[in-house]
C-alpha cells in the first residue's frame, strides 16, 4: 500500500518537475533568437582578464549590452572572429597571420613577455642566447646560469597561443625541446612556475604577480617604461579583430576600450596602453 502511495508521489513529482522544465524552457526561448545586444569576445588569455574588467565597467554605462569573454588562445580568437562566433576576437601577436587578412584589426593595448622563474631562483638576468638555448634544449642545467646543479624544467604554451608564437618569433630559431611541459593559458603557466622551483617560462607582463620573478633580458628589465620605450625586446600588440569594420554596439564597445578611462584601467592593471 505504502509502495503505491510513494509511487504516486514520485509520479506527481516527475510530472511537476517536467512542467517546471517546460515552463523554464518556454521562458527561455521567448527570449529566443540571438539577443540583439550581446557581444562575445574570445581569444588571447593575456588580454582576457582585462577584457573582463573592461566589460564590467562598460556594463555600468550600457547595462543593456551583454558582453561575454571566453579565453582559448589567440588562434581561437582569429578563428571565431572569422566564423562570426565571436564578434570580437582577441589576439596578442607580433604580426597577424595569413588567415586573419580579411579581418579588421584594432590595437587595444601593448604587452610585454617576461621570462619568469620561481621566487626561490636566485638568477636575475638572462641573455637572449641563453633563452634560445634553454627552449631548444641545448642548455639544460641551472648550473650553467650560476645556480644549483639541477635540470631546468622548461614550460611552454600550447600551439595556438599568441604569447607562444610571439615569443618564438621574437627570440627566433626556437624548436621547442620535446620534454618541455605544456600548459594551456597564461594563468596556468604562472601557476606551474609557482609550484616548480626549477622551472622557467614566458608570461604576459600583464599577468605577473609577486609569486613569480621576472628576469631581465640582456640587462633590460621587463617594465612598462622599457616596453613603451622600445628598449625591452619581447613585446607585441594586442589586437581586437572584427569581421569587417566594427559597427553598432561592437564599435561602441571598441571605442570605449580605446577611451582614456579604459586605457587608464588597463595601465593600472599591468598592461600597456595602445599608444
Amino acid at each position: 500500500m505504502a509502495m503505491e502511495m510513494t509511487a504516486g508521489y514520485i509520479e506527481t513529482a516527475i510530472k511537476r518537475g517536467l512542467q517546471a522544465i517546460v515552463a523554464a524552457l518556454i521562458a527561455f526561448t521567448s527570449g529566443c533568437g540571438r539577443p540583439k545586444a550581446s557581444i562575445t569576445m574570445a581569444g588571447s588569455t593575456a588580454f582576457e582578464p582585462f577584457a573582463v574588467a573592461l566589460s564590467k565597467e562598460y556594463k555600468k554605462i550600457r547595462p543593456d549590452v551583454r558582453i561575454t569573454v571566453q579565453g582559448g588562445g589567440s588562434s581561437l580568437g582569429i578563428m571565431t572572429a572569422m566564423y562570426g562566433i565571436a564578434q570580437i576576437g582577441m589576439a596578442d601577436l607580433v604580426k597577424l597571420p595569413q588567415e586573419a587578412v580579411g579581418l579588421t584589426a584594432t590595437v587595444v593595448a601593448r604587452d610585454g613577455i617576461a621570462m619568469v622563474v620561481n621566487v626561490a631562483n636566485p638568477v636575475t638576468d638572462i641573455t637572449e642566447a641563453q633563452v634560445r638555448d634553454i627552449f631548444n634544449g641545448k642548455l639544460t642545467n641551472w648550473r650553467e646560469l650560476g645556480w644549483e646543479d639541477h635540470s631546468i624544467t622548461v614550460v611552454s604554451r600550447e600551439a595556438g597561443s599568441g604569447t607562444r608564437s610571439s615569443f618564438e618569433k621574437l627570440i627566433g630559431g626556437i624548436v621547442l625541446v620535446k620534454s618541455a611541459l605544456v600548459q594551456d593559458s597564461n594563468g596556468s603557466i604562472r601557476e606551474t612556475v609557482i609550484n616548480d622551483k626549477y622551472s622557467i617560462s614566458y608570461l604576459s607582463h600583464g599577468l605577473i604577480n609577486q609569486e613569480v620573478r621576472s628576469l631581465s633580458l640582456d640587462g633590460c628589465e621587463c617594465t612598462a617604461e622599457n616596453i613603451i620605450g622600445g628598449k625591452y625586446k619581447l613585446s607585441r600588440p594586442v589586437f581586437l579583430l572584427t569581421k569587417g569594420e566594427p559597427a553598432g554596439i561592437v564599435k561602441d564597445f571598441i571605442d570605449y576600450m580605446l577611451s582614456h578611462e579604459s586605457q587608464e584601467i588597463i595601465h593600472k592593471k599591468g598592461l600597456l596602453p595602445a599608444k
Partner: protein, 282 residues
C-alpha cells in the same frame, strides 16, 4: 487510428535518437578518415613527429603515452581493486558490504577535475620532492587514474564474485580447503570473466580521461622513457589543440578521435565476449 499515429511518432523518436547517436560517429569518421587516407596510416600512427605548423601529424608518441598511462592506471587500480573486492565479498560480513559498496560506488561520480586537482596540489609536489623531475608526469597521471578507476573495478568485481553460487564455495570447503584456498582455487576462477569485464571497463575509463590527465601529466609530446617524464595522451592532445586547429590540423584531431573510437569498440567487444561467456555458465 490513434495507435497508428502513436506508433509512427515513436518510430520517428527512435529514429531521431539513433540518428543523433549515429551522427556523432559518422561526423567523426567523415572528418577523420579522409585525413588518414590522405596522410597514410603509417605516417599517422607510426611517426612520432607531431608538428602541425609544418604539416607533420605523427601521433605515435601520444599513442604510446596513452597506453603507458592506461597501463600504469591498471597496475595501480586493478590489483588494489580486485584485492579489495575479494576481501570485501569473501572475508567480510554482508552487513559491512551493504555500507561500503554503495559508499565506494558514490565515489565513482566524483568529477575528474577534483581528482586532477588533488593530483596537482598533493601528488605532483610529492613526486617532485621525493623522486625528482617536474612532478607533472606519467607517474602522477597513472596514480590519479588508478585511483579514479578503483570504484569501477571494485564494484564490478564484487558483483562478479557475489554471482558465484555458494555451492561452489561450500563444495571446496567440504573437501577440506581453507577459505582462502576455496577463494583462489574456485571462486576467483568462476568469477574470472566478470572481473575481467570490470577491469576492461576501468581501462576504457582510463583511456578516455582527459581533464585529470591534462592537469597532472605535463603534456609534452615525447616518448616516456621513465615514469617521471612528462607525457601527452591522445585525449589531452585533442583538448589542447582543439581551439587552434583548422583545416588539416582539425582533421588530424578527428582522426585521433577515430583511433580512440576504434580502440573503445575493440575493448567493448572483448568485454562483451567475456560477459557472455560468464552468462553461458562455467
Amino acid at each position: 487510428m490513434v495507435e497508428r499515429i502513436v506508433k509512427w511518432l515513436l518510430a520517428i523518436t527512435a529514429f531521431s535518437a539513433l540518428a543523433s547517436l549515429l551522427l556523432i560517429a559518422l561526423f567523426v569518421f567523415k572528418e577523420g578518415l579522409p585525413f588518414i587516407l590522405k596522410t597514410g596510416l603509417s605516417d599517422f600512427l607510426f611517426s612520432s613527429h607531431w608538428d602541425p605548423s609544418h604539416g607533420k601529424f605523427g601521433i605515435l608518441a601520444m599513442i604510446v603515452s596513452s597506453l603507458a598511462v592506461t597501463a600504469g592506471a591498471l597496475l595501480v587500480g586493478a590489483p588494489l581493486g580486485i584485492c579489495g573486492a575479494i576481501f570485501l565479498n569473501e572475508f567480510m560480513p554482508v552487513s559491512v558490504m551493504r555500507i561500503i559498496k554503495p559508499a565506494i560506488e558514490l565515489l565513482a561520480g566524483i568529477p575528474s577535475v577534483v581528482f586532477g586537482f588533488i593530483g596537482v596540489t598533493v601528488l605532483a609536489p610529492f613526486i617532485q620532492h621525493n623522486f625528482g623531475g617536474a612532478g607533472l608526469s606519467l607517474l602522477a597521471a597513472s596514480l590519479i587514474l588508478g585511483i579514479m578507476i578503483l570504484p569501477t573495478v571494485i564494484s564490478i568485481s564484487v558483483d562478479a564474485l557475489a554471482a558465484v553460487p555458494n555451492s561452489y564455495r561450500d563444495g571446496a570447503l567440504a573437501l577440506g580447503a581453507t577459505k582462502w584456498q576455496s577463494v583462489h582455487m574456485v571462486t576467483l576462477k568462476a568469477a574470472r570473466s566478470g572481473i575481467l569485464a570490470g577491469v576492461i571497463l576501468g581501462m576504457g575509463r582510463a583511456i578516455g580521461e582527459t581533464m585529470a590527465v591534462i592537469m597532472v601529466a605535463g603534456n609534452s609530446v615525447q616518448f616516456p622513457r621513465s615514469p617521471l617524464d612528462s607525457v601527452r595522451t591522445l585525449t589531452s592532445n585533442i583538448a589542447l589543440e582543439m581551439n587552434s586547429a583548422i583545416g588539416v590540423h582539425r582533421q588530424a584531431l578527428f582522426a585521433t578521435g577515430v583511433v580512440l573510437f576504434v580502440v573503445i569498440m575493440i575493448l567493448n567487444a572483448i568485454a562483451g565476449v567475456a560477459i557472455r561467456r560468464k552468462i553461458r555458465g562455467k
